[in-house]
């Protein structure tokens, strides 16, 4: 993840060539404003950090493809579901343990598979997977997910 995050600016730059027309109107509008603000309030580091966050969010909103956003939303959902199950296990005990293992590992496994899908479908990683098209990646993802669900539903008994 971290790696892809670091790399994001450069593909974004590369992507601008491809996806320039729709993004261009929105990008320049917020971009100059923060720069001005930073120049104005240089001593306040808090504002500086706000700026970084706002920058990050804007950059994410503007430069991330729709499908990657969808993946991220789904992953966030899985994190919430997994956290709820874990908290329940800590508070209420792990009996029956196979149910906990099954429920929790279904969520974690789904998260891992989804992360793999994200890596394989990100434009920036295309050079790493020259033979894997996004369609092929999605098909792999569906098959693996079905196997995972099959195991988990059986294991929870």
């Amino acid at each position: 993840m971290a790696k892809s995050r670091n790399v994001t600016p450069s593909p974004a730059a590369a992507a601008t060539a491809a996806a320039a027309p729709p993004q261009q109107p929105s990008t320049p509008a917020p971009a100059p404003a923060p720069v001005k603000q930073v120049a104005k309030s240089a001593p306040s580091s808090k504002q500086n950090w706000d700026q970084v966050v706002v920058n990050l969010v804007n950059h994410y909103q503007n430069k991330t493809p729709q499908r990657t956003k969808l993946i991220d939303a789904f992953m966030a959902f899985l994190v919430v579901v997994g956290a709820l199950q874990f908290v329940y296990c800590v508070l209420a005990g792990n009996y029956p343990f196979n149910a906990f293992l099954s429920g929790f590992s279904a969520t974690v496994g789904q998260f891992v598979l989804t992360a793999s899908l994200r890596i394989q479908t990100t434009e920036a990683n295309k050079s790493d997977f020259p033979s894997v098209s996004p369609e092929r990646a999605f098909a792999d993802y569906v098959v693996c997910s079905l196997i995972l669900h099959f195991f988990c539903v059986n294991f929870i008994n």
């Binding site: 969808l70 329940y88 209420a92 099954s102």
Partner: protein, 465 residues
């Protein structure tokens, strides 16, 4: 006609075996056959109870306790003899073999004659000690019969003994008239070892002591063999095979003259002796006519709703609910009666593999009990441990036949499809919901993924074109 004959035969067999649960052949060993006149009431009583008496002397050549390796008699009474030895047919070893072969022995001693060495070594085997030089006399200067022994004080007068412990039935003196006394004339006291097979019926009073009348002058008795309640006057030994052995310190207790005698404590009034009834009960206990327990049947089965009600299955599963029932009868004189556990005692069931996992009280089950037998039941949940287990009833009490019953069953673990399903356990519902959320979330994600057109797709295709 034939059926009538067989019926009569059966009746005869029933009548003959009605007396003792182990047999009715009784050997009476007397120093001199003429001596039996002195015991005529006691022997007549035994005969009237159905025992067939054979009277022999130790010198008799035909005397043998075994014939072709089998017991020739079921019971033996040994009365005191003047001779020093009992001869080759009544050695300590043979008498012990007789006990080992489920024979019962009633042994009487008397201070008037030295105990034969064969009997001393027999008693030593059973952990019963006699005074050192095989002769002793028990005296009591407070509880003596002032009518017959005003000077020697060697006829002890004792109240009927009462139960040995609070959890044991009083079978030797129950129902005894309060004013009757047991006369214990010219007797030998014994000291019992700590073995659990030994139990005294009658202990000496606290003021009694045992001394050697030949060597110790009556005035100065400094080296006592034993005194007070250390002295057991009538003692029993019940072997592991439930063969019974009784040592009566005073043979004269069984004589006619003490059955009818009136005795009188100093300052008390003359009362009848309890000897006849006491002799009957002591001999009856020894010859397995009272205090005999029998296990009629044992049954155990699954006690679960919807499960098969098969009796005595070979295999159970861990945590099964199981019911165990044992039926017991007690023989008393002429009939089998339902056995009732004494008030402060408990009949217990052990469920054990090497060591007991459960030790549970067995309670009387009135539904399955009749006048002849009492059913005791316990219902419980098997432990969470698989393996080879025993249902074990180990009931060994003084004056009652030993009961040790073991029924072996296998206890298997849960089969894979016997565990409760997760959806049955409410604790698992959040995790089931977790899988549900994951799967439906995944389905929604897939649908959205496929319907969301790749934004750059057209452009890419344009580019490639």
């Amino acid at each position: 006609m034939r059926s009538l004959v067989s019926f009569v035969l059966l009746l005869l067999v029933a009548v003959v075996s009605a007396i003792s649960t182990t047999g009715n052949r009784l050997l009476v060993v007397l120093d001199d056959v003429a001596e039996k006149e002195g015991y005529s009431k006691f022997l007549g009583d035994l005969e009237s109870r159905g025992l067939t008496l054979s009277i022999e002397t130790p010198k008799s050549e035909s005397l043998s306790l075994f014939h072709l390796g089998e017991r020739a008699y079921d019971h033996v009474i040994l009365f005191p003899t003047k001779a020093k030895g009992l001869g080759p047919s009544l050695t300590a070893n043979i008498l012990l073999q007789f006990l080992g072969a489920n024979g019962n022995i009633l042994l009487t001693l008397s201070s008037g004659s030295a105990t034969p060495s064969a009997l001393v070594s027999l008693l030593a085997e059973l952990d019963i000690q006699l005074p050192a030089d095989r002769t002793g006399l028990v005296v009591d200067h407070f509880n003596y019969d002032s009518a017959s022994a005003p000077d020697t004080h060697d006829v002890l007068l004792l109240p009927p003994p009462g139960p040995l412990r609070s959890d044991i039935k009083d079978i030797f003196s129950a129902g005894a008239p309060a004013d009757q006394l047991i006369a214990f004339p010219h007797g030998v006291g014994a000291a019992l070892g700590a073995g659990e097979l030994l139990s005294p019926i009658l202990r000496a009073p606290r003021t009694a002591y045992s001394y050697n009348p030949k060597e110790q002058s009556e005035a100065v008795v400094d080296d006592l063999f034993a005194a007070g309640e250390q002295l057991s006057l009538v003692s029993t030994f019940q072997a592991r095979n439930s063969a019974r052995f009784t040592l009566v310190g005073a043979a004269e207790l069984f004589q006619d003259k003490w059955f009818d005698a009136e005795v009188k404590k100093t300052g008390g009034k003359a009362v009848k002796t309890f000897n006849q009834e006491f002799a009957k009960r002591v001999s009856g206990w020894t010859f397995q006519e009272i205090g005999v327990l029998r296990v009629n049947w044992i049954e155990h089965h699954l006690n679960e709703v919807g499960a098969s009600n098969e009796s005595n299955p070979k295999i159970y599963r861990i945590k099964n609910d199981v019911t165990y029932t044992i039926s017991l009868s007690e023989w008393s004189w002429t009939a089998w009666n339902a056995f009732s556990v004494p008030k402060n005692d408990a009949l217990q069931l052990e469920f054990s593999m090497l060591s007991p996992f459960h030790r549970l009280p067995l309670r009387l089950n009135a539904k399955q009990s009749t006048a002849e037998q009492a059913a005791y039941t316990s219902s419980f949940k098997l432990p969470d441990q698989h393996g080879i287990f025993n249902f074990k009833v180990n009931y060994k009490r003084p004056f009652l036949t030993n009961i040790e019953e073991k029924n072996t069953v296998s206890v298997r673990h849960m089969a894979h499809d016997e565990w409760p399903r997760s959806f049955v356990i409410s604790g698992a519902w959040p995790w089931i919901a977790g899988i549900g959320a994951t799967v439906t979330g995944w389905l929604a994600f897939c649908a959205l993924w496929m319907y969301s057109a790749p934004v750059g797709g057209k452009k890419e295709s344009k580019k490639t074109q």
